[in-house]
């Protein structure tokens, strides 16, 4: 099968990313858009664009029926869901199938099986993929619980079996404090859930988040494309991703890669997916545990593209059209180092509050080893309705340090004005000794938050004051109508004695 027309059921940078791949392959791209995105870059980039509803995602980008209708009316043979929105809804994959449209992603059954946390855990155990050791002892007396804890090994986590949301969870680091903790946890579980049954789980202390990119075709091939480390997270939101990981040894990489492939095969996976692991420890003795599988293209996929040289989106389109994978496991290797920085419209100085508003000025850095995947343009508004991620800066270099310095230099030449962004925060992270040392776990950013607050509170340089005074309102500052008294006054000829007032108060 050859794809002639593909509908991209997404917006922003990922829609543009997929549209570009379509163009390179001679496939006609179709965009869909909400009222908030009329005239947006992804709309302008497509051959055809279909309005699918009002701004709220529920009425537009999550409106499966409107998207399927758009595919039908435009003659699209396939739909690429991007990430987020409908990408991990088995019902949507199934609806595509029913409508005779190719869903560019895994079969609905694979999405479903990985979507159930408990079901996926059981499946992974059966497939020999390591999961965080845990058990709900059938006998709930103290002796049985203590025996379960000793089997699993300390530190452990006691959780109410019926619970969730962290209520009643107890960290226990040694055997002596176990009986007391069991009594407390049981009491709290009974109080909160009316059920004192306890689940004993191995506590993964200061874990790293390392994930494996996998790719499978419909001909029984499944390979992994090495890892991405995403330990730099703020409240579970990834900020920086990189490949290779600073801690993965070749032996652990091979084991983790094999586990990821086994995970994908266990659910009959097809197309691109990511198996996420928690990693603890160092060296060849490092242990990893299955966390979950993301059954779609990831935000951070460019990191893998930069180090493996494989275009993941083009491969997705090829595989969806029925082609076998164009590479084998033997062909895949990492070259150099890549780092991705997510650029969010949010204010680090005010609790990372998402920002919306006009992009008065937006200039992307360019240069060797610099890639920007963005979905915004200067002069347009950042809408309030969607994810505040506006762009991704991806850099590559021969070494991690070269890539880190390249990312910093690029961010210094990446002015975004009109809305606040997390660029200063990302720069502070890239300059943090722990990041430089590659010594970051998933809790690092939240633990070090005060440290970052101080780093961000630096007063602006004298140059900023001078620029604020000296930049005249000549072209490029946009908003000609809104300039008000500023441009009116400074456009007037120099009148020193009229305007020197403040100097003459003596």
């Amino acid at each position: 099968m050859t794809l002639r027309r593909v509908l991209v059921a997404n917006r922003g940078e990922i829609a543009l990313r997929v549209i570009r791949a379509c163009r390179e392959m001679g496939i006609s791209p179709v965009a869909v858009y909400s009222d908030a995105d009329a005239g947006a870059p992804h709309v302008a980039a497509a051959d055809v664009a279909v309005r699918i509803g009002p701004a709220p995602p529920r009425e537009s980008y999550l409106n499966a029926q409107a998207i399927l209708d758009a595919a039908r009316t435009t003659g699209a043979e396939a739909i690429h869901p991007g990430y987020g929105f409908l990408s991990e809804r088995p019902s949507f994959a199934r609806a595509c199938e029913a409508a005779g449209i190719t869903f560019i992603g895994p079969p609905a059954s694979a999405i479903e099986r990985m979507g159930s946390k408990i079901g996926a855990r059981t499946l992974m155990q059966q497939a020999g993929v390591p999961v965080v050791p845990g058990i709900t002892p059938g006998d709930q007396n103290d002796a049985a619980l203590i025996s379960a804890a000793l089997d699993i090994g300390f530190p452990i986590l006691l959780k109410p079996s019926a619970g969730g949301g962290g209520i009643g969870m107890k960290v226990v680091r040694d055997e002596t404090s176990l009986p007391g903790a069991i009594a407390t946890a049981r009491r709290e579980a009974e109080a909160a859930f009316g059920d004192g049954t306890l689940y004993v789980e191995r506590l993964v202390d200061r874990p790293r988040h390392v994930e494996i990119q996998v790719f499978a075709d419909r001909h029984g091939h499944c390979v992994h494309l090495c890892e991405r480390e995403c330990s730099a997270q703020r409240r579970h939101q990834k900020v920086i991703e990189e490949s290779p990981s600073t801690v993965l040894t070749p032996a652990v990489r091979a084991r983790m890669g094999a586990a990821a492939v086994a995970a994908a095969k266990a659910v009959g996976y097809v197309n691109a997916g990511t198996v996420e692991f928690l990693l603890e420890g160092h060296g060849d003795e490092a242990r990893f545990y299955f966390l979950e599988m993301n059954t779609r293209l990831q935000v951070e996929h460019p990191v893998t593209e930069m180090v493996t040289g494989i275009d993941l989106v083009r491969t997705q389109l090829d595989v969806a059209a029925g082609a076998p994978l164009p590479f084998t496991q033997h062909d895949v290797s990492q070259r150099g180092h890549a780092i991705e920085c997510r650029i969010y419209a949010e204010d680090p100085a005010r609790g990372f509050l998402p920002q919306a508003g006009p992009l008065l000025l937006y200039r992307e850095p360019t240069g060797p080893g610099i890639r920007i995947d963005s979905g915004v343009v200067e002069g347009r508004d950042i809408p309030v309705h969607y994810d505040p991620m506006i762009a991704k800066l991806i850099v590559s270099g021969e070494t991690r340090e070269a890539a880190r310095l390249r990312a910093l230099a690029a961010l210094r030449r990446y002015p975004v004005l009109g809305v606040r962004t997390n660029i200063p925060f990302v720069m502070a992270l890239l300059e943090h000794p722990a990041f430089i040392a590659g010594d970051i776990d998933t809790g690092f950013l939240d633990r070090q938050f005060e440290d970052f607050r101080e780093r961000l509170a630096q007063p602006p340089s004298a140059v900023a004051w001078a620029a604020a005074a000296g930049a005249r309102d000549s072209g490029g500052t946009l908003n000609p109508g809104a300039a008000g008294n500023l441009s009116a006054t400074s456009a007037a000829p120099a009148e020193p004695f009229v305007t020197l007032g403040a100097w003459r108060v003596s």
Binding site: P415, A462, V463
Partner: protein, 156 residues
């Protein structure tokens, strides 16, 4: 020459700017030139230059310097201060040297006539008549170092 009141958070500074982009804030002088693309500027400070980006919306001015963004409020100095000004006494906006003196007592001047030229930080600043009249007094000599706030020339 224009004076702006810049406010950033709780901090306020006064800046004078001529129409060539020469900026003075307190005792520091800068030269702000247009950069290679609209909205970008080169700020000269001594021997180095710094590429910055600036965007204006209403009275709000966004400035990006090396990845750090500051959002200034830019206004004319508060009216209460400006009104205290007499427009018959011409003064220097900053410590400067009188480069040339073009008028003498008794000369008739029109609005905008150059009375003298000051030099500061290798920049020339023409001092123009704020109103028409006759020169009543000259309080400086060519080559003299003058201070801000001291009358240089009075127009009668």
């Amino acid at each position: 020459m224009t004076t702006w009141q810049l406010t950033l958070g709780s901090e306020t500074r006064l800046a004078t700017v001529d129409d060539h982009g020469h900026v003075t804030i307190a005792d520091e002088a800068w030269h702000v030139r247009p950069g290679p693309t609209p909205g970008t500027w080169l700020v000269d400070a001594g021997e180095t230059q710094c590429l910055v980006a600036v965007a204006t919306r209403g009275t709000t001015r966004w400035v990006a310097v090396d990845g750090h963004v500051s959002v200034f409020e830019v206004d004319s100095p508060r009216p209460g201060r400006a009104r205290a000004v007499r427009d018959d006494a011409m003064m220097a906006p900053m410590p400067a040297t009188v480069a040339t003196l073009s008028v003498a007592v008794g000369d008739a001047v029109a609005v905008g006539d150059v009375l003298l030229v000051l030099e500061a930080m290798k920049m020339e600043l023409p001092v123009r008549a704020a109103r028409a009249g006759t020169i009543r007094a000259v309080h400086c000599r060519q080559g003299e170092m003058v201070q801000p706030g001291v009358p240089l020339v009075e127009i009668g």
